[in-house]
Structures are given as structure tokens and as C-alpha cells.
């Protein structure tokens, strides 16, 4: 057997699970298992207790609530990918899921699992950031909501207390006509992005940028929201005339991730190229939406 010894727990409701995280030491929560199980098979992760949330039905579901799109933490990625409600309210999300791993993985993987695992190259924290996601967590003491922008504490470390479980995430759909685009570059379809970019844009009647959202993955330990660039571009023409400013802004990003395979220089160049391309597609879609 590959994983080290652990005690397996299978709660059937949230309060049972919350009791477990409040009392057990050195536990890990098992969501879809598409990252945790490999880590356990390698024995990078050796929890004493494994709390399997797959029987907790109340953590699954997709619905609209107060103009926000709410997704239960244990909702499978495949269901979100193919959901008509998601496609209607946040078309950026299925476009991003086109790039998320393989079907076999999306059938099991969950949005909550991905947001708690927080791989810096993952598409899911990136679109959650572009759509100003709020993450709801619960403990025996009650619940709290954390903005995705405050969720990442450091590399692969979410702001989740040891007595808390993430219950759902809500995204902010854009109501008026707008454009969107998710683009990434990976060596093989379905691999984690080397760099990925999520863009949302709304244009006014004079085709000037009214509202803009740009988030990057694969660039920093957390999804990087380019809010400085966003505010600089609002009021500018919604076409390729903004591209020099985009290029310059990305040139000025202080630190860009690097690893044995991809240097920061390459990643910066890729970020510039992909952001320009994604903006072009989003502008076109925004024009068509009018």
C-alpha cells in the first residue's frame, strides 16, 4: 500500500465533520483526492486521520443567491464545467475549465479542494480572483467569509483555521454586457498552466473601458490580480491601443515565479503575450455583447 497508515473517517453531515476537525490532531480533509492522494502515495502527506467529505451532501450544489453564483465546496469540477447556470452567469468559468486537467480528474476533483490546495498554477483560484470570489468557511463556533484576495497566506497555504471547513464559494457575475477570456499556455493540454490569464471587460457606449478585471496564475504564489493596471486602463479605448501600457505594467511586476523548467524571463514574456491576446478576445466579445 502506498500511503502511510491513517485512520479513515467518513462523516455524513457537516456538523459531524466539524466535530472531527475540532478534535482530531494531524488530520487531512479528503475532497476529490486528485492532489491529496498523489501526495499521500508519495508520502509527502502523512496524516494520522483522513476525513472524507464525499458523503457530506450539503456541500454539493450550484445556485444563484443575491446576484451571486454560489458553488458548494464539494461540487465536482465536471458539474461546474457543464452547468448551464454557470455558463449563463459566469461564462469565464467553463472556458477556464476547458483547460483544467483531464476529464477523469474533473469527474472527481472539486472546486473547494482546489481552492484549499492552492497550487499557484491552478486555473481555479485564478478565475475565482477575476470574479471577486468569496470563500465561506465554517467551524463549530460559526461561519465567516473571506475574500479570495485575502485567502492565500503564502505558497499553497489558505487562510483556513485548523478547526474550519470550507463550505462554499460565491462568485460575482457581471450583470451588463461584457466580454471575457481565459487563456493559458501549458506543454500538454490538461497540464497545469505555465502561465494563465483570466480577463473580464465591459465597454461603454463609446467603446471605452468601463470596467476591467485581470487575474494571472503561474506568476506568483497566489492568483495575481492586476488591479493597478485595471484602474489605469478604465476610461481608455477598448482596443489594441492599450497594449503598450499592458506590456509596461507586466514588465514592472517585481517578482515572477521560476522553477527548473521555466525562468521568470520566459514567464514574464508569456504573461505579456497571453494578456494581450486575452484582452483582444475579451474586447471583441464585449463589442458583440452590446
Amino acid at each position: 500500500m502506498k500511503p502511510a497508515r491513517f485512520q479513515y473517517h467518513r462523516p455524513t453531515n457537516l456538523s459531524e465533520a466539524l466535530e472531527m476537525v475540532a478534535t482530531l490532531e494531524n488530520y487531512k480533509i479528503l475532497a476529490g483526492g486528485q492532489s491529496l492522494m498523489p501526495m499521500m502515495n508519495f508520502r509527502f502527506a502523512m496524516p494520522d486521520h483522513l476525513i472524507d467529505l464525499n458523503q457530506v451532501g450539503e456541500l454539493v450544489g450550484i445556485h444563484e443567491e443575491n446576484d451571486r453564483l454560489v458553488v458548494g465546496a464539494m461540487t465536482r469540477q465536471h458539474h461546474i464545467h457543464r452547468s448551464e447556470l454557470v455558463a449563463k452567469l459566469c461564462p469565464l468559468v467553463p472556458e477556464a475549465y476547458d483547460q483544467v486537467s483531464h476529464r477523469q480528474i474533473r469527474n472527481r476533483g472539486t472546486l473547494g479542494g482546489s481552492l484549499c490546495h492552492l497550487d499557484p498554477a491552478s486555473e481555479q483560484p485564478c478565475f475565482t480572483s477575476a470574479l471577486d470570489g468569496n470563500i465561506e468557511v465554517q467551524s463549530r463556533a460559526g461561519s465567516r467569509t473571506i475574500s479570495i484576495h485575502d485567502w492565500t497566506q503564502m505558497y499553497m497555504t489558505p487562510a483556513l483555521g485548523s478547526d474550519e471547513i470550507m463550505t462554499r464559494v460565491s462568485l460575482q457575475p457581471w450583470l451588463g454586457p461584457h466580454g471575457w477570456c481565459f487563456l493559458e499556455y501549458a506543454r500538454r493540454h490538461g497540464d497545469y498552466a505555465i502561465v494563465g490569464v483570466a480577463v473580464m471587460v465591459a465597454l461603454d457606449a463609446g467603446q471605452k473601458i468601463e470596467r476591467l478585471s485581470i487575474s494571472l496564475c503561474g506568476v506568483a504564489p497566489a492568483p495575481l490580480r492586476l488591479s493597478g493596471l485595471e484602474s489605469a486602463l478604465v476610461g481608455q479605448a477598448g482596443d489594441k491601443r492599450v497594449l503598450p501600457a499592458v506590456h509596461e505594467h507586466i514588465e514592472a511586476i517585481e517578482e515572477i515565479m521560476h522553477d527548473a523548467y521555466n525562468s521568470s524571463i520566459y514567464r514574464r514574456h508569456l504573461t505579456q503575450t497571453l494578456t494581450a491576446r486575452a484582452l483582444g478576445i475579451a474586447f471583441e466579445r464585449a463589442l458583440k455583447a452590446h
Binding site: 491513517f6 492522494m37 472527481r108
Partner: protein
């Protein structure tokens, strides 16, 4: 320590009721406990796709699921893909004809993956077949014959229409 749990599941239409170690993967359970060695174990961390099985008609990596998580599920492995009379399924026959396998190690995962695709989409483009198997590594064929097999099977299944039975016992959608 709770080392074992009793599980009840159906594998290729046959019900099983047995105790299983809580840290045993579904792949190891199928191979070691049920002696269904058609499901191959390659990388054991979700990269190669050889262990892909159908869990409630949907593909999953059997190395990334614990056997206890399959409690109550309907599992289909490569052993369950042939027709009821044990002749090759349309997809398997297409693999044979187009030489879509050489060593055969990746084949169980390729077949289960493409079975899911064809159950949902009888008219896939070449691009869609390619994308469907991005999660399955093959080191012999260079993939081209596998893609050919997928497209050939789709074509034959379209021609057969309602006569075609899926491994799930109903007409394909």
C-alpha cells in the same frame, strides 16, 4: 484504529460484499482482492491514466480513489466492456483493426476513457478524441491509431443506431 471497512459495490454487474483495508486504493482492490488484473497500475499518482475505470459511468483514476470510497458504487473495468456474448465491443474491435495497441499497458485506460466519450458523444471530432485521451499516456503507438480507433468506433456506432448497446446495458445516448 479502524483498519478495515465492509463495502458493498457492483463490479461489471456483479455484486461484491467484502471487508477492505481503509488505505487500499480502488486499483489495488480490483487487482488483488477481486483478481481483476485488467486494470493496470502505472504511475500510481494520477498521471498515466492506465488505471482509469468507470465509477457510476464516469471515468476516474482507480489509483486516486480509496476502495472504501467505491462503497455503493457501480464500477466498470476493462473486463466489463465486451459485449454480453463476450465478443469484442465496437470500440475494442476498432482498436484491434487499427492496431491501436502494441504492448497493451495503456489500453484498459484508453478503452474506459473513450467509452465515456462515446457514451456522451457519438459524433466526436478528431480534436475531441485527442482531447479525451490527453490524460492517458501511451509509449508505443504514437497515439494516431488510437485516435483512428475512436473515430472508427464512433462511425460504426452511429451506423448501428439504437441497436448498439453500451456496457451500461442501455442504448447509447
Amino acid at each position: 484504529m479502524q483498519e478495515e471497512l465492509h463495502i458493498h459495490l457492483s463490479v461489471n454487474g456483479k455484486a461484491h460484499d467484502c471487508p477492505v483495508s481503509t488505505r487500499k486504493s480502488l486499483a489495488d482492490f480490483l487487482r488483488q482482492d477481486l483478481k481483476l488484473t485488467g486494470t493496470h497500475v502505472g504511475c500510481e499518482h494520477g498521471v498515466c491514466g492506465a488505471c482509469t475505470v468507470l465509477v457510476n459511468h464516469q471515468t476516474a483514476r482507480a489509483c486516486l480513489m480509496l476502495a472504501v470510497q467505491a462503497d455503493g458504487c457501480e464500477i466498470t473495468t476493462v473486463e466489463g466492456l465486451a459485449n454480453a456474448d463476450q465478443t469484442l465491443s465496437v470500440l475494442q474491435q476498432a482498436f484491434k483493426e487499427t492496431h491501436a495497441l502494441q504492448c497493451g499497458f495503456c489500453t484498459p485506460g484508453m478503452l474506459t476513457t473513450l467509452t465515456e466519450l462515446l457514451a456522451e458523444n457519438l459524433n466526436p471530432s478528431e480534436e475531441e478524441v485527442r482531447e479525451a485521451i490527453t490524460g492517458n499516456l501511451c509509449r508505443c503507438t504514437g497515439y494516431q491509431p488510437i485516435i483512428k480507433a475512436g473515430l472508427l468506433a464512433a462511425e460504426r456506432m452511429r451506423a448501428l443506431g439504437d441497436e448498439i448497446m453500451t456496457p451500461f446495458g442501455g442504448p447509447s445516448r
